[in-house]
C-alpha cells in the first residue's frame, strides 16, 4: 500500500505485543452486523504513474481560462501569480503543518497570520482582521450574523447589487436564525438607491450590507449614507474587492464597521472557484463578536517576541455552543499565499497593479462602446469590471468568442433573468493586452 511503513513482520510483532493474532481483532468493537463483508465499490488502487495519467486525462477534458484570453470575473480574477508565491507556499513546513495551537513550534504559521492580519488591516483601514474565512460569501453572511448579534436586532438591509452568489449564501445563513432581509434595489446608474436605503432604516435594523465595487463593477459611495446608518444604530457592512483598495477609499476611512472580501485574486489560481479566501476586518468595538482565529504578538518567558492565537474564548473549541461562529478549519494556506503576494508587490506594486487594471478596463470599455450597438449598461464609476449592453443576446457573443479562444465575460441573464439577456459582465486584469482587446472588439463587431 502506498504511504505505509509496516512490513508484514512489523504488523505481526505489534499484534503480538498486544496479545492479538490478527488485525481483524482490532475491529472487534464494531458489532458484527455492521462489519462490511463486501469490498468498497471503488476499484483497485492505481500506481502513481497511472494516477497522474488518469488526472491528466481528466484535466484534458477541461479548457482552462488560464490558457485562453479570459474576461471572466464576477469575484474570481485571472491575475498573474508570481512564481515565488507557488514556490514558498509549496514548502511542506507550511502546507503540511496543523493549525498553530502549539505556539512554540508554530511560529512560522503564526507570524504569517500576524502579517496577513496587518496587511488586511492596512488595506481595509480597519484595525482588526481575522485569520480568514472560507470565502467572501460566507464572510459576508457571518458579518451579517455578527451585526445582528452585536446590535441585538433582527433585520438586515442588503444591496441587490451584491454578487448574486453572495446574496444566495447570505440568504441561506441569515434565514436560519429567523432574521429578516430587506433588499435595496439598484438605481439606473448601477449603485444602490440612497433614498430607499434611508427609508428602509429603522430601529430593528442590525446592519446594512453593500458591496463596492458591486457585482456590476460599479463603485458605491457608502460615505453618503454612512451617517444615516450610524444614526439608526445599525452597522455598515461592506464587501470590497481588495485590489480596488489600491486606489479607492477603504472602508475604515468612511466608517464602515465590518469589511469582508474575496482574496482569491491576491496570488491564487482560480481553482474552479475554490479554495478561496474570505477576509474579514472590523472596528475594535466588535472584536469580541468576530468569528474566526486571531493571532496576537506577545512574548515568551525569555522575553522574546512571539506570536500566539488569542481571544480564543470567541471560538468553538473553547466556547462550544456559545462561540461567535462554528468556524474551525479556515483557509490558512490561501492566506499565506496572499501574504506572500502582497509582500512581493508592496505598496508601490499594488498601487501600480490597481492602476493598470483600472486603465485597461477603461480602455477596453471605450473600445467596446465605440463598436456600433454596444454601450455601457451603467454610467457609474467602475474599477476593472463593467457591464456591456449588447445588441444581441450576450450568450451568443460568449459562444462565438469561445470558438476563438476568448472567454468574453459572464452573461448576466444567468443571474438576473430576461431583463439582462443582452448584458455581459466583463473583467479586465493586467494580463490582457491591446491585442486581446482588438480581438474581442473584432468579434463584437461581427456579431
Amino acid at each position: 500500500m502506498p504511504y505505509l511503513y509496516h512490513t508484514d513482520e512489523d504488523r505481526r510483532s505489534m499484534l503480538q505485543a498486544m496479545g492479538l493474532t490478527s488485525e481483524e481483532e482490532l475491529f472487534d468493537g464494531i458489532p458484527s452486523k455492521y462489519r462490511m463483508n463486501e469490498t468498497l465499490p471503488i476499484g483497485p488502487g492505481f500506481s502513481e504513474f497511472e494516477t497522474i495519467r488518469h488526472f491528466e486525462a481528466l484535466a484534458g477534458r477541461n479548457s482552462a481560462a488560464g490558457d485562453m484570453v479570459s474576461f471572466l470575473g464576477g469575484g474570481i480574477y485571472d491575475h498573474v501569480v508570481p512564481s515565488a508565491v507557488n514556490h514558498l507556499s509549496a514548502r511542506s513546513e507550511f502546507y503540511t503543518a496543523y493549525t498553530p495551537y502549539q505556539a512554540e513550534v508554530s511560529q512560522g504559521t503564526l507570524q504569517v497570520i500576524f502579517e496577513y492580519q496587518t496587511m488586511i488591516s492596512r488595506l481595509t483601514g480597519l484595525p482588526v482582521a481575522n485569520a480568514s474565512m472560507y470565502d467572501a460569501a460566507t464572510a459576508l453572511a457571518e458579518s451579517a450574523l455578527m451585526a445582528a448579534k452585536a446590535t441585538g436586532r433582527s433585520r438586515l438591509l442588503f444591496s441587490e447589487n451584491i454578487n448574486p452568489r453572495y446574496q444566495q449564501v447570505l440568504t441561506t445563513y441569515v434565514t436560519q436564525q429567523e432574521l429578516e432581509l430587506t433588499p435595496l434595489p439598484a438605481t439606473a446608474d448601477g449603485g444602490i438607491d440612497d433614498a430607499v436605503l434611508r427609508k428602509s432604516l429603522g430601529d430593528d435594523v442590525a446592519g446594512v450590507v453593500v458591496q463596492t465595487p458591486n457585482y456590476f463593477g460599479v463603485l458605491e459611495s457608502p460615505w453618503r449614507y454612512r451617517d444615516a446608518i450610524r444614526e439608526a444604530g445599525a452597522l455598515l457592512v461592506v464587501a470590497v474587492d481588495p485590489l480596488s483598495l489600491a486606489l479607492f477609499q477603504p472602508p475604515g476611512e468612511y466608517g464602515a464597521d465590518i469589511a469582508v472580501g474575496e482574496g482569491q485574486g491576491l496570488g491564487n489560481h482560480p481553482n474552479f472557484g475554490g479554495p478561496l479566501l474570505g477576509f474579514m476586518a472590523c472596528d475594535q468595538k466588535y472584536i469580541r463578536s468576530l468569528p474566526g482565529r486571531l493571532v496576537s504578538e506577545t512574548r515568551d518567558i525569555d522575553g522574546k517576541r512571539a506570536y500566539t492565537l488569542t481571544l480564543q474564548t470567541r471560538e468553538q473549541h473553547i466556547r462550544r455552543g456559545k462561540a461567535t461562529s462554528n468556524i474551525c478549519t479556515n483557509q490558512g494556506l490561501v492566506a499565506l499565499r496572499s501574504t506572500i503576494y502582497m509582500a512581493l508587490l508592496g505598496e508601490t506594486g499594488f498601487h501600480q497593479l490597481g492602476g493598470i487594471c483600472h486603465a485597461k478596463a477603461h480602455r477596453l470599455a471605450s473600445m467596446i462602446t465605440s463598436c456600433a450597438g454596444y454601450s455601457l449598461r451603467y454610467p457609474g464609476p467602475f474599477f476593472r469590471e463593467f457591464v456591456v449592453r449588447c445588441p444581441v443576446d450576450a450568450q451568443l457573443i460568449v459562444d462565438d468568442a469561445r470558438a476563438s479562444g476568448i472567454l468574453a465575460g459572464i452573461p448576466l441573464a444567468k443571474y438576473f433573468g430576461d431583463d439582462s439577456r443582452n448584458d455581459l459582465l466583463i473583467a479586465v486584469t493586467e494580463k490582457r493586452t491591446e491585442d486581446d482587446f482588438n480581438r474581442l472588439c473584432d468579434l463584437l463587431r461581427k456579431t
Binding site: L4, H6, L26, P100, T310, L345, G349
Partner: protein
C-alpha cells in the same frame, strides 16, 4: 526572532513588477472615491521575501518533519502526488464561471468523488460544497431544519455527546437550534439512560461522533439510532474519525441519516497550517433533495451543474466549495483503491492500539480495553508531583514531537489524546514511547524541568494572558523600517 515584513520594508523596494506599469495613468473619477494614499504594504525585494518566508517556515513543526500525535486531527502523511494533481493547469486555471463544455473534467471529478464517498460511508448523496467539517455540520443542521419544517414539525434541540468536538454545538447554534450535552457513561460510551430521557419530541437531531473522541466505537450504536429514529429525530454523524472505519464499516449501514467527512483528515489533504479543508456532507436518499445547490448531475455522458432545486437549503459557498481539495482527496482514493483504504484503517487502529498498550502502564487509559484509531490516556498520576499534562505536552516538544491534544475530552482528567495515524513506523512509535517514559521519569525526579519546558524550540512558553488582555493584532503603522 524574525523581523516582520513591515520591519524589513524599505520605501522604493520592489519584489514584483508588471509589464504595463506605464499604462497606469491617473484615475479619472470624483475625488471622494479615491484613497488618500495607497495601502502601506511592505516593500521587500523578491529575494528578501523568499528568505523571510523560508526562515519562518522552518520555525514550524510539520508532518514532513515528525509525528503529530494530535488526537482527533488525523495528521497523516500528505502524499506529494496529490499536490501535483491539484496544480495541473487544466484544474488550477479553471474559472468557476466557464461554460459547462469547458469544465467536463472538473465536473467529473466532483461527480466521481461524491459517488466514491457514498460508497465509502454508505450514504446515498453527497455535496462537496462545504468548505470544512464545521461547514458540513452546519449544512447538516440546515437540512434537519428544512426536513422538520417540511414535515410541519417544530423541533429545536440537538443532542450532542459531551465529548464531541466544539464545532458540533457551535454548528447547532448557527441554525437557531440549541444543543444539549449527552454525557458519557462509565464505559466511555453514550449513557443510554440519559439518552433515553433526553430524546424527546423537541429533539431534532442526535449528533454523534463514531468512533467517539475516546477512540471507542459505540457498541450500542444500532440501538441508539433506532431509539432516536423512533422518537422522530434525525441522526447525524460527525465523520472526522472516519479513518478508523474505512473499508471495515459504513456509517450509513449503522443507520445514520447524515454525516460529514473531513477530506483534510481521512483523505490526506494537507492542513495548510489551518486550512483549507473540505467537509463534504452526505445524506440518505430521503434527505438528498435538501442538499445545497449547485449539485453535479450526469445526463447521458455529460456532466452539468444543477441549481434548480426548490427544496435545497440553498447555496452555502461562493461557488462549488474547495475544489482544489477534492482533487487531492480523489487522488488519494484512486491511489489506494478498496483494499488500500481498508489497510489504512487497519493500520491506523493497529498503531493506536500498539501505542496505547505500550504507554498504558505509565499513562493509564481510563476508557476502553481496546481503542480504534485513537485513545485518551491520563496524566493524572503526575499531578502529585505538581506536573500537569500541559507540562508533559510541552516537554515533548523538546524531543522533536508535536504535543498530543490535551485536556480534551473533558471526561478524562488530565487527558492526553493521541492519534498516531497509519503513516507512522513502528520505530517512530517505539521512540515516542521511550521519550514518554523518560518524561514520566523526569516528572517524578525533576518536575521543574517539565514546568519550564520547552527549551529547544524557536520560542518558549508564551505569555498568553497578556495577549488576551491586550491583544496586538497587527504591526503598528509606524513600526521601524529597515
Amino acid at each position: 526572532m524574525s523581523k516582520t515584513l513591515f520591519e524589513m520594508s524599505r520605501k522604493g523596494r520592489r519584489g514584483f513588477r508588471f509589464a504595463d506599469e506605464p499604462a497606469a495613468g491617473p484615475v479619472d473619477v470624483a475625488r471622494e472615491y479615491l484613497r488618500k494614499a495607497p495601502p502601506r504594504l511592505p516593500e521587500v525585494s523578491e529575494p528578501g521575501v523568499v528568505r523571510h518566508f523560508t526562515e519562518l517556515s522552518v520555525r514550524n513543526h510539520h508532518i514532513d518533519k515528525n509525528l503529530y500525535p494530535l488526537g482527533s486531527c488525523t495528521m497523516k502523511y500528505n502524499p506529494k502526488v496529490n499536490e501535483d494533481v491539484a496544480s495541473m493547469k487544466g484544474f488550477a486555471g479553471l474559472h468557476p464561471e466557464q461554460m459547462g463544455t469547458d469544465v467536463q473534467g472538473a465536473l467529473e471529478v466532483i461527480y466521481t468523488l461524491e459517488k466514491q464517498l457514498c460508497g465509502i460511508v454508505g450514504m446515498d448523496a453527497f455535496s462537496l460544497n462545504t468548505a470544512a467539517g464545521a461547514h458540513g455540520e452546519l449544512v447538516g443542521m440546515m437540512i434537519a431544519k428544512k426536513y422538520f419544517q417540511d414535515r410541519g414539525e417544530s423541533r429545536s434541540k440537538v443532542l450532542v455527546a459531551d465529548s464531541a468536538h466544539g464545532t458540533n454545538p457551535a454548528s447547532v447554534q448557527m441554525v437557531g437550534y440549541h444543543d444539549q450535552a449527552v454525557p458519557s457513561a462509565k464505559d466511555g460510551e453514550v449513557d443510554m439512560d440519559v439518552l433515553n430521557s433526553s430524546l424527546d419530541k423537541d429533539t431534532a437531531v442526535l449528533m454523534l461522533t463514531v468512533p467517539n473522541t475516546l477512540g471507542i466505537f459505540e457498541s450500542r450504536i444500532g440501538e441508539i439510532l433506532e431509539l432516536a429514529h423512533a422518537r422522530g429525530a434525525l441522526c447525524y454523524m460527525d465523520g472526522a474519525n472516519l479513518n478508523a472505519l474505512l473499508g471495515w464499516a459504513r456509517p450509513g449501514d449503522f443507520g445514520f441519516d447524515m454525516m460529514h467527512v473531513n477530506l483534510h483528515k481521512t483523505f490526506s489533504t494537507p492542513h495548510g497550517g489551518g486550512g483549507p479543508g473540505s467537509g463534504p456532507i452526505g445524506v440518505k436518499e430521503s434527505l438528498a433533495r435538501f442538499l445545497p445547490v449547485p449539485r453535479v448531475r450526469k445526463v447521458g455522458k455529460r456532466f452539468r451543474f444543477d441549481d434548480d432545486n426548490p427544496d435545497s437549503v440553498g447555496a452555502i459557498h461562493s461557488f462549488y466549495g474547495n475544489f482544489g481539495i477534492y482533487l487531492r482527496a480523489l487522488c488519494y482514493i484512486v491511489r489506494h483503491g478498496a483494499e488500500g483504504l481498508r489497510r489504512v484503517a487497519a493500520t491506523a487502529n493497529l498503531n493506536a492500539n500498539y501505542l496505547a498498550s505500550e504507554l498504558a502502564e505509565l499513562f493509564p487509559i481510563p476508557y476502553g480495553k481496546r481503542c480504534m484509531h485513537e485513545f485518551v490516556a491520563s496524566g493524572e498520576s503526575f499531578r502529585a508531583h505538581g506536573v500537569r499534562t500541559l507540562d508533559i505536552a510541552k516537554r515533548l516538544l523538546d524531543f522533536g514531537y508535536h504535543a498530543p491534544t490535551i485536556y480534551f475530552p473533558m471526561v478524562v482528567r488530565e487527558a492526553i489524546m493521541i492519534e498516531p495515524t497509519e503513516t507512522e513506523s513502528k520505530e517512530t512509535l517505539d521512540h515516542f514511547v521511550t521519550v514518554m517514559k523518560q518524561i514520566a521519569r523526569e516528572a517524578v525526579e525533576d518536575p521543574d524541568l517539565l514546568k519550564g519546558a520547552p527549551y529547544n524550540t524557536p520560542v518558549r512558553r508564551l505569555d498568553e494572558a497578556t495577549a488576551n488582555r491586550k491583544p496586538i493584532l497587527a504591526a503598528p503603522l509606524n513600526c521601524p523600517e529597515a
